[in-house]
């Protein structure tokens, strides 16, 4: 919070001083390139932070530019309010695109293509729609900003644009330093994990795309006053390529990177294009290819790494304990899955399976490979739909709900291969999980940099030693530590029933037994119902109140560990090997 603010204030002062002292020509270039830097930062917000590759960031930028230009020509006295209108127009355009594009979760490639084609189509529209856009030649003679009764001079306008641009960039920097920034990185790194924590990732993507659109819209409004004209090429392939290039070369996922990229490449272009006119465009193409192939991270992150610092500082964060009880309460039905069928193609994975947990217990779900255990777990937390059957979780009918709705209802899940958010610190992972209980983007923008975490989750961190490494990056943890971190994450949100998929995979026998002890302890102390898919019989004997056996998509047996182990049908399925 403090760092972006002080950096931003310093940069704003520096931009103002530069604008006044550099002389009209340089000051004009600076304001032009800073307004383009705002555009690059808007791309960085949606792409570098939230992971949405938008090749159509010119869409809100260009439409806002045209809108502002028309408004400035029609009502010169209202140019300052017109900047806000441009911002709103940018946000609206981006929201529309986001809603149309993200709902069905197309792959990043499809989103990139779609946004690019949209932008190129708009270039044609702008050429044809002469009445509004002025056709191929565009709109010219756009007045400068007018306020306080007079049209400003070029140098006053340059000063204003430079300072506003830096302030906007600072605001984006502040935004990504808030809890929402960590959440966006979570969506970029691991969308599935975020959904299982209660985040409606599609809605969040639309939200960040809209915010990015607002920033791009303001950039377009500033840009059009600076250049004094706007033509259809504002949507064209050349600018679309360039803004991606600046962001990529500077380093996405940092705020300063794209700004440096934009300024450096544009000042270089302005200087070299005169000398090198023919070859400069070729050079940008070559730089582009070279940057992708050699430094895909971008210059700023690569330099930071060379200097021994991670590009994004892993941050610690205060985790405070909330009330100790997180459970469903004893004597109440935990879940009830009735008559569940699931088919993949011609293969029936689950055939009329009914699984219930009547009161909080530690239940293990076992069965040979291919029995349908993980699929059943997926269905119990909304990761997959079932064809028939109904799912009641914690006394509410959840059939057909989405994964994030299950999570907000209190159904937490740990995946088979550990899914943590590698770019965030251990503490941030836990915090992101805790914030998932109430994940409105606006709340996450203004919420404090701290997280209330249930004691059960904190106890896991303490017992596994992860609390001592709260500030280190989760991506660098060992497999076993990631397993524990993910279990602690699953307990950190609004957790009222816990589903674990092979929590001891990759652990030694001793570690497995310690894990069983810890899980039992959490279960006993907090009354948390747990359903565990496992293969390791020693672990199951140590941990389970009750065992359910699944084989070939059907329920085979159910009872205490001893009962199940001696049941002839179970022995037959396993070939009696494990006894």
């Amino acid at each position: 919070m403090k760092r972006p603010l002080s950096y931003g204030a310093t940069a704003a002062v520096a931009a103002a001083v530069a604008s006044v002292t550099l002389g009209d020509f340089r000051a004009g270039q600076l304001s032009l390139f800073l307004s383009l830097a705002v555009l690059a930062v808007s791309l960085d917000l949606v792409w570098g932070y939230a992971g949405i590759l938008s090749l159509g960031q010119l869409l809100p930028f260009g439409i806002a530019a045209y809108t502002t230009a028309r408004m400035a020509a029609a009502a010169p006295a209202l140019t300052l309010p017109a900047l806000l209108v441009g911002t709103l127009v940018g946000a609206t355009v981006a929201a529309g695109v986001g809603i149309a594009a993200f709902r069905r979760r197309p792959t990043p490639v499809v989103i990139g293509l779609l946004t690019l084609v949209l932008s190129l189509t708009l270039e044609q529209v702008a050429e044809q729609w002469r009445d509004v856009t002025g056709g191929f030649n565009g709109l010219t003679d756009i007045p400068r900003i007018t306020a306080f009764g007079s049209e400003w001079s070029d140098s006053a306008q340059d000063l204003f644009i430079s300072v506003v641009a830096v302030l906007v960039i600072t605001c984006v920097g502040l935004l990504v330093s808030r809890p929402i920034g960590a959440v966006l990185i979570g969506i970029r790194d691991n969308e599935r994990r975020m959904e299982a924590l209660g985040y409606d990732t599609v809605a969040l993507k639309v939200w960040v795309f809209t915010v990015g659109g607002a920033v791009a819209g303001l950039a377009g409004a500033l840009y059009v006053h600076r250049t004094g004209f706007v033509s259809p090429q504002i949507f064209g392939f050349a600018l679309a390529t360039n803004v991606v290039l600046w962001t990529l070369v500077g380093g996405r996922g940092t705020i300063i990177g794209p700004v440096i990229g934009t300024l450096a490449i544009n000042f270089a272009t302005a200087t070299l294009a005169d000398v090198w006119l023919q070859y400069w465009t070729l050079a940008t193409g070559v730089i582009f290819v070279a940057a992708v192939a050699l430094v895909p991270e971008g210059l700023v992150p690569s330099l930071l790494r060379m200097a021994g610092r991670p590009p994004r500082r892993s941050r610690d964060l205060p985790l405070s304990a909330t009330a100790p009880t997180i459970a469903a309460g004893s004597g109440s039905a935990v879940f009830e899955a009735t008559g569940v069928d699931k088919t993949f193609g011609f293969f029936k994975v689950l055939d009329n399976v009914t699984l219930t947990m009547d009161e909080p217990e530690l239940r293990c779900l076992i069965g040979p490979n291919g029995a349908g255990k993980s699929t059943l777990l997926d269905i119990l937390c909304g990761q997959q739909d079932c064809q028939n059957g109904s799912i009641t979780m914690l006394r509410r009918d959840c059939t057909g709900l989405k994964a994030w709705e299950f999570a907000r209802h209190g159904v937490s899940r740990k995946f088979q291969s550990p899914q943590v958010i590698g770019s965030l610190s251990v503490a941030e992972n836990i915090a992101v999980a805790a914030w998932g209980a109430d994940p409105s983007p606006w709340r996450l923008t203004f919420a404090a940099w701290e997280a209330p975490v249930p004691q059960a989750s904190l106890r896991i961190l303490e017992r596994t030693g992860l609390d001592a490494r709260a500030g280190s990056g989760a991506g660098g943890l060992s497999h076993g530590d990631k397993q524990w971190l993910e279990i602690a994450m699953a307990m950190a949100g609004h957790c009222r029933v816990l589903l674990l998929d092979e929590p001891t995979a990759g652990m030694t026998a001793a570690e497995s037994l310690a894990a069983a002890e810890l899980l039992r302890e959490v279960h006993t102390d907090y009354g948390l119902p747990v359903l565990i898919v496992e293969h390791d019989m020693a672990f199951i004997r140590a941990v389970a109140d009750r065992v359910t056996v699944l084989a070939r998509g059907s329920l085979l047996a159910d009872g205490t560990v001893a009962e199940v182990e001696n049941a002839p049908e179970v022995v037959a399925v396993y070939g009696g090997v494990d006894r």
Binding site: L113, V117, Q124, Q128, E195, L282
Partner: protein, 284 residues
């Protein structure tokens, strides 16, 4: 009635062009998960091959195999030098080919200048059929496109090579551990994709101007075909091309080219709304 027939024939010839342009794109995307944003530039280079063949005074039809060979070699070079390093990261391949397209356009401009060049129609004149006169060359174009698309589809569904390719599409890692040289197959796919773009370029060269920016015109159409037709299945390209061509021709008939572009874009967005969602976090 005759106007309608003419419109229909126009539609079919547009379908033919879209299908060959999108075919290469579809092969590369379907097999490697790589979206080649420089595909339009490959088409443009194919057209320049036809232009060069014309300027040295050779027969136009020679340019079709020649463009295929030139672009195949270029495709192989690009695959080895660039795509191979990054093909498992779809995002990076989009960006790299984005940059590549800038380079190719600029190189074409430096070599051939910005001027519009033209390649004379090797089969001037029109043929009367179905009660209307329609350029003979376009009839030939339709026939050639049909042969190329059919041959490719047959090769991918009926041959041993096709089986290997489908195995890779289904599960690259499994295919690799089953002893399939996926690297070699990638190389072939990218080369063949580039070659079909070259063929398309040589074939369309007599129909319009040959210039460095020409490739950009094919880009939106070809991408919409891939989005509409879906990926993983090559015949999706044919279906997508058919749908996009039908929408574009229909709308051009009543309005103009811009509305046609908007309509096909709307079609793509609509298709996205009904496509089965990819599971969260999945990569192409």
């Amino acid at each position: 009635m005759d106007a309608l027939t003419l419109e229909l024939l126009n539609g079919v010839s547009l379908f033919a062009i879209l299908a060959i342009v999108a075919l290469g794109l579809g092969i590369v995307f379907g097999l490697m998960g790589v979206i080649n944003l420089a595909h339009g530039e490959f088409v443009m280079l194919g057209a320049y091959v036809a232009y060069v063949v014309h300027t040295v005074g050779l027969n136009h039809w020679l340019s079709v195999p020649l463009a295929a060979v030139v672009l195949f070699v270029l495709g192989v070079v690009i695959e080895v030098g660039l795509i191979r390093r990054i093909h498992r990261q779809p995002e990076l391949t989009i960006l790299a080919t984005f940059g590549l397209s800038v380079c190719l356009r600029q190189i074409a401009e430096l070599v051939f200048s910005k001027d519009f060049q033209s390649v004379p129609n090797p089969v001037p004149g029109a043929t009367r059929a179905f009660g209307v006169l329609f350029p003979t060359y376009r009839y030939l174009l339709i026939a050639i496109a049909a042969v190329i698309v059919a041959a490719t589809l047959l090769a991918f569904t009926r041959s041993r090579f096709g089986l290997v390719v489908r195995a890779i599409v289904a599960d690259r890692d499994l295919a690799e551990s089953a002893g399939i040289r996926t690297g070699m197959t990638n190389l072939c796919a990218f080369g063949v994709g580039a070659a079909t773009a070259g063929i398309a370029g040589a074939l369309v060269a007599p129909l319009g101007a040959v210039e460095p920016q020409a490739g950009l015109a094919y880009l939106p159409g070809a991408f919409l075909v891939v989005i509409v037709g879906g990926y993983n299945r090559l015949w999706g390209v044919a279906v997508g091309a058919l749908a996009v061509a039908a929408v574009q021709t229909g709308v051009i008939h009543f309005y103009d080219a811009v509305w046609a572009q908007i309509a096909s874009l709307a079609l793509a967005v609509l298709v996205l709304q009904f496509r089965r969602p990819t599971p969260a976090g999945a990569v192409a």
